[in-house]
């Protein structure tokens, strides 16, 4: 949601290949990614956030085998049990289904629908941005002015407008969210690429006879992928919130499939009966979303990209 601000401000801070605190000569250098990893490991907040993400991913992968109960099987007699129930550890939902099992299985769709659009947009957006930034001229003007049009829509509005027009469903949600993030990533990729295209090593590659495609793939991509990647990771949190938001509105996942946003929606009717259980799916979205944000912040600090 902050895209226009951060997009302009995420810029290359000096030469990525040589961080300021590069070790003395004669000492084997760790290399750029080695430094990033080293700094990241010493950042307790980023490490905690990373650990939370890993745990959630592990739960998502393993959930079909490790849920304590059947996430789809309800019981009309045991609806809306409170948290701490002997059978239902985190209570049961409005149809008497086990909350903890549904939250575990729900992490699959919630993560998938939050991360996939950013991944696809990372590939498409970087390609567009690098092409526009490296080729410049009319190609740049046409591509970037088209992207400006999408910036004229607040991202929530664009996501909902596209989903609303396309209709509900997992595939349509992913398509609309991808359309939201492509322009944002493309703009960052363009500005980073424009920043390096006049560098000497690009000229050197040109003089050595490399084709434009090879230069874009080797010299440009190698030097811009870091900042674009970090920017993209910061979008995952927004994407998770929006994806679950679409399901919350009834535009994403359809029942009875468990997904956190959808669970939050169906439990809205239960806030007077069992408020704590009703709030649980949202808490799950929040924990994952804040973990992605903190990890992304840590990554940015580790890579010394100015905010």
């Amino acid at each position: 949601m902050t895209a226009p601000l951060t997009a302009a401000s995420v810029a290359l801070d000096g030469n990525l290949a040589a961080p300021p605190d590069a070790p003395e000569a004669f000492v084997a250098s760790r290399g750029f990614w080695g430094h990033v990893g080293h700094r990241l490991v010493r950042d307790p907040v980023a490490m905690t956030a990373g650990a939370v993400i890993l745990i959630v991913v592990a739960i998502a992968v393993l959930s079909p085998w490790i849920t304590p109960m059947d996430p789809y099987k309800g019981s009309m007699l045991r609806r809306l049990k409170p948290v701490g129930d002997a059978t239902y550890w985190l209570g049961s939902d409005e149809l008497g289904r086990d909350m903890i099992s549904r939250l575990m299985l729900g992490s699959r769709l919630s993560l998938f629908m939050g991360v996939t659009p950013v991944l696809i947009a990372f590939v498409i957006g970087s390609s567009i941005g690098i092409l526009a930034g490296y080729v410049g001229g009319w190609t740049n003007t046409i591509l970037m002015r088209t992207i400006d049009v999408f910036f004229a829509f607040p991202s929530v509005l664009l996501a909902i407008a596209l989903s609303g027009a396309l209709g509900a469903g997992i595939f349509n949600s992913i398509v609309s969210l991808t359309c939201v993030f492509v322009p944002q990533i493309a703009r960052v990729a363009e500005s980073v690429t424009t920043g390096i295209r006049k560098r000497d090593y690009i000229d050197a590659a040109k003089l050595s006879g490399a084709s434009a495609l090879t230069i874009m793939r080797v010299q440009v991509l190698g030097n811009v992928v870091g900042p674009i990647f970090v920017y993209s990771t910061s979008l995952i949190s927004v994407s998770m919130i929006l994806a679950s938001g679409l399901s919350f509105l009834g535009l994403g996942v359809r029942p009875p499939e468990p997904e956190w946003g959808l669970m939050l929606n169906t439990l809205r009717t239960a806030i007077y009966v069992n408020p704590v259980v009703a709030a649980l799916p949202g808490l799950a979205i929040f924990i994952v979303s804040i973990s992605f944000n903190l990890f992304s912040d840590g990554l940015r600090n580790a890579m010394e990209i100015r905010q």
């Binding site: 927004v238 946003g261 808490l283 929040f286 804040i290």
Partner: protein, 317 residues
């Protein structure tokens, strides 16, 4: 300055044009015939053809676009399928309610955001700075529709202090500035204020820290200016950017209010959009999105011009 405004108007025109194309194409993006929502299931081919001609769907797309744009430019956004009322009228009424909610939320978010930002920027790495940055991470990470639900759970369902939904006691669709209506706006406004608060706090903190590290601040202190005097200089330097962000946030809130308006059943554009989507009321969907997006474009322009006017350092070339 006049020339600058003119120049910005020229650059904004293609964007506005592009936005109108996107909004127009939205209806054609929808699966099936745009008319399927209006026509009865057993309509004969003759009726379908007749309706297509009546709505102009039998013409090629560019012609349809030209006709649609001509109507839009004359303030005619079509007729809502669900209610039969003009879309412009429906959106016009809803947009007032959304604007009220978004403005109150922006104001709350701006006040707290600027406060936390200044405190954090002045006392870097203090406990208050930690609290402020924790709050701003919270603001951008929390699913606001969930936060709204939690506030309803606490203040309406449990404590019973504030009404959970609606814009007023009579269930009417219009908000008025009196005490009774004020109680209805508190929860949605606070929910909505959390996002801009986080973003503004983060930006103001960086701004203030940056300004304080500059040489002129040291010079001001060296010449014996009181800390209050220095503070006024800092405010003057931070104001253009902070106000610009506030303006943009108002636009984001207005456009992104659909989830919060749905949670609180607030009779604004988001609520209208929700209804339009689920009743497959395509003219209403198209009209509300066009109005919101154009508002956002206009707001961007105003913010840009204001920022240039406020900050003499920005070149007006």
């Amino acid at each position: 300055m006049f020339l600058y405004i003119l120049k910005r108007l020229v650059t904004v025109t293609p964007v506005a044009f592009g936005v109108s194309v996107v909004c127009f194409l939205l209806v054609h993006l929808a699966p099936g015939d745009p008319l399927s929502a209006v026509l009865p299931a057993d309509a004969t081919q003759a009726t379908i053809d007749e309706m297509r001609a009546a709505y102009g769907f039998d013409k090629p797309l560019p012609v349809q676009y030209a006709i649609w744009l001509w109507h839009v430019l004359h303030g005619d956004l079509g007729v809502s399928i669900a209610t039969g009322r003009p879309v412009a009228q429906e959106v016009g009424r809803a947009v007032v309610n959304s604007l009220i909610l978004a403005s109150v939320a922006t104001l709350i978010g701006f006040t707290f955001g600027v406060f936390f930002g200044f405190v954090a920027g002045y006392r870097r790495n203090s406990i208050l700075d930690r609290v402020a940055s924790a709050l701003s991470v919270f603001g951008v990470s929390v699913p606001h529709y969930w936060l709204g639900m939690v506030l309803v759970i606490v203040f309406s369902a449990t404590l019973g202090w504030l009404p959970p939904t609606g814009a007023g006691p009579d269930g009417s669709g219009n908000w008025r500035p009196d005490f009774e209506h004020l109680r209805y706006i508190i929860l949605p406004a606070i929910t909505m204020a959390v996002i801009p608060m986080g973003i503004i706090a983060r930006t103001v903190r960086a701004l203030v820290a940056d300004i304080l590290s500059q040489d002129f601040v040291e010079a001001l202190r060296a010449k014996g200016l009181s800390e209050w005097g220095v503070f006024k200089h800092v405010v003057r330097n931070a104001a253009p950017t902070a106000l610009a962000i506030m303006g943009l946030q108002l636009g984001y809130l207005l456009g992104g209010s659909i989830l919060i308006e749905t949670v609180f059943a607030w009779p604004g554009t988001g609520f209208l959009l929700n209804a339009a989507i689920f009743q497959r009321d395509l003219p209403l969907l198209q009209g509300s999105i066009l109005v919101l997006a154009m508002f956002f474009v206009a707001l961007n322009l105003v913010v840009d011009v204001m920022q240039t006017a406020l900050d003499p350092r920005i070149e007006r070339a």
